[in-house]
C-alpha cells in the first residue's frame, strides 16, 4: 500500500509537497464549504491551501457533514446554556447584553485582530466581558466552558471565508508569528513548516499530515473526545517535537495564531470541525 503510493508519486515525478489530499467536497447541512482555494499572495512556497478536512478519513469526514452526527454539537449546546446563565457580581448573563448570538456572524473570520495596540483572540474578548462587564472569573483558555463558548460563537460564522487583517497595526504581530512558524525548536529540532508546509499530504507514521489550518477550531478530536482550542493544538505539536510549548494565551501563540489564520485566508470557517 505504502509502496504503491511511493511508486505512484515517483512516477508522477512530483517534488516537494505532493498534496495527497483527497478530492472530496464538503457540504454541511446543505451549505457548501470551501476546503480548497488559491493560497494568499504572502505565501511563497504553497500554491493552494486546503482545509484539514481534506486529509481525514471518509469516516471522520462524514461526522462533520451532519450536525446530528457531529459530536462537537453536544458542547456547542453547553455553550448555549452558558450564554443564558447569570454569573458574576454584576448579576448578568451574556444574553443580558448581547441580544442574539447570531449577531456574532463574521467575527470568527476576523480574529485575531488588533484592538488598541494589542493582539486579541476570541478567548480574550470573551474573558474581557466576563471580568470587566460581568465581574466574574475569567475562563481558563482551553477548558470546557471556554471551548464551548468559542464553538458557539464560531459556528455563527460557519461557511464564511477567513479574512484576518495582516497589515497596519497587525503587521508586527504577523511578522512575529511568521518567524515562529519557520523557527526550529525542540530536541527533534523542527519548525511547523517542516511538517505542515514541506510535507503535507505525506504520512508521518499513522498520521496524514495536513497544512495545519485553523479554520475549523475549536475542533472535536476523536482522540480526546472534546473540543480543542487552537493554542492547545499548538502546544501538542510542540510537545511532540520535544519542545517546551509557549504559554496558552501568551504573545507567541497569539502571534502564531494570527499568522496561521492568514495562511487560511479564503477557506470557509468550519467550526466546530471533527479531526482525529
Amino acid at each position: 500500500m505504502t509502496n504503491t503510493l511511493w511508486t505512484t508519486l515517483a512516477l508522477i515525478g512530483l517534488g516537494t509537497a505532493v498534496g495527497a489530499q483527497d478530492s472530496n467536497s464538503l457540504s454541511i447541512e446543505g451549505e457548501s464549504i470551501v476546503t480548497e482555494v488559491a493560497a494568499p499572495a504572502h505565501m511563497e512556497n504553497v500554491d493552494t491551501i486546503y482545509s484539514g478536512w481534506r486529509f481525514r478519513s471518509a469516516e471522520t469526514q462524514a461526522l462533520e457533514m451532519d450536525d446530528f452526527d457531529n459530536p462537537a454539537f453536544v458542547f456547542v449546546e453547553q455553550g448555549m446554556d452558558l450564554w443564558d446563565k447569570v454569573d458574576g457580581a454584576a448579576g448578568k448573563a451574556c444574553s443580558s447584553c448581547h441580544e442574539n448570538i447570531e449577531d456574532f456572524a463574521g467575527l470568527r473570520t476576523q480574529l485575531p485582530r488588533v484592538d488598541d495596540g494589542e493582539l486579541v483572540t476570541m478567548e480574550n474578548l470573551i474573558n474581557e466581558c466576563r471580568t470587566d462587564r460581568m465581574e466574574a472569573e475569567p475562563w481558563k483558555w482551553s477548558k470546557g466552558k471556554m471551548t464551548a463558548m468559542t464553538g458557539l460563537i464560531g459556528v455563527q460564522s460557519r461557511g464564511m471565508p477567513m479574512n484576518v487583517a495582516i497589515d497596519g497595526d497587525a503587521a508586527p504581530f504577523w511578522e512575529k508569528g511568521k518567524e515562529l512558524y519557520y523557527t526550529r525548536v525542540g530536541q527533534l529540532d523542527m519548525a511547523c513548516s517542516n511538517c505542515h508546509e514541506d510535507n503535507y499530504g505525506m504520512m508521518i507514521r499513522a498520521d496524514h499530515l495536513s497544512q495545519g489550518q485553523i479554520n475549523g477550531f475549536p475542533t472535536y478530536r476523536l482522540k480526546n473526545a472534546k473540543l480543542n482550542s487552537i493554542h492547545g493544538r499548538f502546544k501538542g505539536c510542540m510537545k511532540n517535537i520535544r519542545a517546551t510549548p509557549f504559554k496558552e494565551g501568551g504573545d507567541e501563540f497569539k502571534a502564531l495564531e494570527l499568522y496561521l489564520a492568514s495562511r487560511g485566508q479564503g477557506l470557509s470557517v468550519e467550526t466546530p470541525s471533527v479531526r482525529n
Binding site: 505504502t2 511511493w6 526550529r184 525542540g186 530536541q187 523542527m190 508521518i204 507514521r205 510537545k239
Partner: protein
C-alpha cells in the same frame, strides 16, 4: 546476558546516558558528513537496532521511512526515502554520519540529528542536554541498516 545487563543499566540512567569510553556527541568527527570511527568501539547489534528503528520513543525512524523488512508494523511513514537497499547505497561510515547528524549531509533536512546534545532550542526539560539516541543505539541502528540489501 551481558548485553541485557548493559541495557538495563542504560535504561536506569536514562536511554542516552553516555557510557564511559563512548565518543561524546560534541566530539564526533565529521569529514564531509562521514564519521569513520565507531562511537563505542564495539560492534553494533543489528537485532537491537531493528527494535530501536521502530520504537516510537527511540529512533522512530519508521515515522518517516517505509521499510519492507518490517511488514509486522502497521504504519510506515512517507516523509523520507524507503529504507530498502539502504545498506547498499551507503557505507557504514556514511550511515554513521547520516544517523548522528543528518544535517551534515542533507542541508535543511527535516530528519532529526540523533546524536547531538546541544544546538537545539527550547527542548522539554527532561530532554535538555541529551541526545535522542545513545552511542550504542546509533551503532546498533547502523548494524541493522547494513543488513538492508536490495537483493
Amino acid at each position: 546476558m551481558k548485553r541485557a545487563l548493559i541495557l538495563t543499566l542504560c535504561t536506569a540512567f536514562g536511554a542516552t546516558a553516555v557510557a564511559a569510553g563512548d565518543v561524546k556527541p560534541a566530539d564526533v568527527v565529521y569529514e564531509d558528513g562521514v564519521v569513520s570511527a565507531s562511537l563505542t568501539g564495539q560492534a553494533g547489534d543489528a537485532v537491537n537496532g531493528r527494535m530501536v528503528f521502530a520504537n516510537r520513543k527511540q529512533g522512530n525512524c519508521l515515522a518517516c521511512h517505509a521499510n519492507s523488512d518490517m511488514p509486522e508494523e502497521g504504519f510506515h511513514g512517507e516523509v523520507g526515502p524507503m529504507m530498502d537497499g539502504v545498506g547498499e547505497r551507503w557505507t557504514e561510515a556514511e550511515l554513521r554520519g547520516i544517523v548522528s547528524n543528518s544535517k551534515m549531509v542533507f542541508e535543511g533536512t527535516i530528519m532529526p540529528a540523533f546524536y547531538i546534545d546541544s544546538g537545539y532550542e527550547r527542548p522539554l526539560d527532561k530532554f535538555a542536554g541529551q541526545s535522542i539516541l545513545s552511542a550504542q543505539q546509533v551503532e546498533d541502528i547502523i548494524a541493522y541498516l547494513l543488513t538492508l540489501k536490495d537483493s
